[in-house]
Symmetry: C2
DNA sequence: GCAATAAGGGAAAATTTTATCCCTATCTGA
DNA sequence: TCAGATAGGGATAAAATTTTCCCTTATTGC
């Protein structure tokens, strides 16, 4: 694993939420897990643009941060299911608010983002 | 400027909001500008852990994305003031929700973040 | 027997982001 | 006269993140 060389600040609520949500796919992972897509392979199919590796790494971090739990079924081929913890579930309304803002301003956002890409 | 080699996806609201909000200091910049800290030097003092350079770069992007406007006063020494656009202001409740979640779960977050740093 | 599926980690490369350092300009105050 | 405030960009270095490639295990289906 990579060792951070710069210690993060944890001064305010925004710093704290940033620490657990900052990662290219974390928000989507939480969202899809909440929607019932629990198995790693399902999540990979829902998020095809992410490499398998990063999804695993980010799922590990979400687990460390107690936002999701990982249940391993001792079968072959292996079966794993992720679920949101109670703590993780409290994030869903916040993520929903983010998505709603994005949806509401979809056209304008697409415009300003693509204008200067 | 740096040229991206991978085109972002803009499929859903979460992708879109991510494009404009993803950046280490952008959320804080929007927040502090909304609080009335408009001048670059003030913002730098409010966010001492960010380098001057990145704040400028991220302010430029926020401006391109029409979340803030930059007003230059033709005086010496130079004076510049940033303000939120109407569009930018619609983001404030969303950012507030993020901060509130972080504040509410401050102790637990600090705990899980520091446990495995 | 061979390919596909399932889950996931190690190592190294590529990409992206952020930091550091140095440069510009002009006015104010010690 | 020299330091400091003010705003900001270029070039490069460093850090962090993400991708790519390869490896493992055991079963099902062709």
């Amino acid at each position: 694993m990579y060792e951070r060389k710069v210690i993060p600040n944890l001064n305010c609520g925004l710093d704290l939420i940033g620490e657990v949500l900052y990662g290219k796919w974390k928000i989507r992972l939480l969202w899809f897990i909440d929607q019932g897509h629990k198995r790693p392979s399902e999540l990979q199919r829902k998020i095809p643009d992410a490499s398998r590796r990063v999804l695993n790494m980010q799922l590990n971090e979400l687990e460390k941060h107690e936002l999701v739990t990982r249940k391993i079924y001792p079968v072959v081929p292996p079966k794993v299911e992720y679920s949101l913890t109670e703590f993780g579930k409290t994030l869903i309304p916040v993520i929903a608010a983010l998505g709603q803002w994005g949806d509401k301003h979809e056209d304008r956002l697409r415009d300003v983002i693509l204008k200067r890409l």
